[in-house]
């Protein structure tokens, strides 16, 4: 829908401007354009483009405890980050995290949307309940998860419930082996973000024309799995693609819950936590931190583009 509007708007506008012709009007239009977009673009350059450029520049220098580097060291920062086990481990941690959280959130939010969509009464109530955790911050949720639900001692909810079945206390976060911490980290994020993606799916479900289901019913398709597989799922394709993309980007930015749940441990660090300790920890190594940020940014761009290619991002839009 958005693509068509872009065209509708973009085409007539220049034609009209050139037809009107007078130079003064055009210049006034240009001036207006900059009046509207100027402040934003200036800020974008200063606070987005300059930091990125500075980061790339800084990554080739030795810059410890200082942001004005003196010594050019070429690719040494990159070599250090990519051979230093911690940063590579962080990338592995992210990959594991994304491999779990993306499909699980996708399935849960779609499942919730399908349930809420089919409700006849109290639809708004249940929608609000599932959406409500979005109001919670990762920090607040981490506190509840760490100190009340997955506390390592008996007074935590999880261990209390397990205790009823005679299971010994589990040290959820204090021990990487077995890696129970993944359960804690995945559930906290699931609780916080599933409702948001559920709303996106709900919006998409409402946009599926009912005639499709009617046609399927006439063709003898059983309501349930068959219509879900052959109608609902394909119709949700564009939304699914967008949701997966958003989930991936959000997973890449994982920081809050890892930092708060596992701050003192050396395991289970995603890239941003590792970068935080590299650049702002004891070493204050801005050069290496910048190199890591550059690597991470490139990685995100590659993954995003690749995912877009694979899943045909935007293709759903054009077909409409």
């Amino acid at each position: 829908m958005s693509t068509t509007t872009t065209r509708d708007v973009a085409r007539p506008a220049p034609a009209k401007a050139s037809k009107a012709g007078p130079r003064r009007g055009l210049r006034g239009t240009t001036l207006n354009f900059w009046l509207f977009t100027g402040p934003f673009l200036l800020g974008l350059v200063i606070f987005v483009y300059v930091p990125i450029g500075w980061s790339v520049w800084l990554s080739f220098f030795e810059a410890r405890y200082t942001v004005t580097p003196s010594k050019f060291i070429g690719l040494d920062n990159y070599r250090q980050m990519l051979t230093n086990g911690a940063f590579v481990d962080a990338l592995v941690t992210f990959t594991v995290f994304a491999a779990i959280i993306v499909p699980v959130t996708w399935a849960l939010s779609l499942g919730l949307a399908l349930m809420v969509h089919r409700l006849r009464f109290m639809k708004a109530f249940f929608r609000s309940v599932f959406f409500l955790p979005t109001a919670c911050s990762f920090v607040a949720a981490s506190l509840i998860w760490k100190m009340s639900i997955f506390s390592g001692v008996r007074f935590g909810l999880a261990n209390t419930v397990l205790g009823w079945f005679g299971v010994e206390n589990i040290a959820w976060l204090a021990d990487p082996d077995p890696p129970w911490y993944w359960l804690v980290i995945v559930t906290v994020r699931l609780w916080l973000q599933a409702g948001f993606y559920m709303i996106l799916f709900l919006a998409a479900l409402q946009n599926i024309p009912p005639e499709l289901y009617e046609a399927a019913a006439i063709d003898g398709a059983e309501p349930g799995w068959q219509t879900f597989r052959h109608i609902t799922l394909p119709q949700l394709r564009a939304t699914s693609t967008a949701v997966i993309l958003l989930l991936l980007v959000a997973a890449y930015q994982a920081f809050d819950e890892f930092f708060n749940l596992l701050s003192k441990t050396t395991w289970g660090r995603p890239p941003l936590v590792e970068l935080y300790y590299t650049a702002l920890g004891e070493n204050q190594d801005y050069g290496a931190g910048s190199a890591g940020a550059v690597v991470l940014t490139l990685l995100i761009c590659v993954v995003t583009l690749l995912q877009g290619r694979l899943m045909g991002f935007g293709r759903g839009d054009e077909s409409k």
Binding site: T30, F40, I52, R120, A203, I208
Partner: protein, 296 residues
Amino acid sequence: MTTVIESDKAGAVPPKKRGREGRGVLGSTGLYLATGLCALLFLVPFYLIIRNALSTDAEITGEEWQFFPTHIRWGNITELFDDPTVPFARSLWNSAVVGVLHTAGTLLVCSLAGYGLARIPYKHADKIFYAVLVTLMVPAAVTFVPSFVLVSSLGWVDSYRGLIIPGLFSGFTCFLFRQYFLGFPKELEEAARMDGLGYWGAYWRIVVPNSLNFFAAMATITFISGWNAFLWPLVIGQGEDSWTVQVALSSYMTNQTVNFHLIFMATAISILPLVLVFLFLQRWLVQGVAQTGIKG
């Protein structure tokens, strides 16, 4: 949707009607049971916050699990604000100031830019729009190292400026406004232009007053993300006086001396404003999220 299918089914295949309806009742009971169970699970953490916030430490950490506190301790609220180890009141104030200014600033700057990109013809507008789009590829969280380097060289560490200004220029918010304005009925503005208003006048007198729903939705979303932000305030707020509420909360994770009931009271207070915003603005919020241009 279900109603459509069922009625159609009933009409198309009359003999099976009764069986289908029977399954429908059973199915809808099952549906409500499943949805209710999920809803209960989603509400448990909220219940735990409230329960713990109004209990004593002994009740929270007791050997035997207690589902309800034996008596409700409202005194925990005053105890929290009197607690000297974490400047909680100050952090709430900081979050409120930062949240409001961040929201107002982002809306102003990004809506203007979105309007300019959507409506004002300029030959390089496409290129500029791509330059904005590119920044979406680089999530703000990844650039926290270079941004910190920049902000600290400006001398903005530990200040409201450092907390607010770098976050105002959100490529994503600008993008959403542009998409919204593209769909805004053009006729309204054209009438205004006929009456002699320039772009600026048309924007403030016609476009903004007719877009308050969208502005409200974006304001809500922006405020929530600002209030819940953690990484940037953690990086910038190095002294306790510039902590936001999230940074203050996080300090409880490492601070061993703070009591459980205070931690949970702080958590409850930190999410209360947003829960209220949610309950009152729920409809707008849902619309806003659903409208963000990623619907199928």
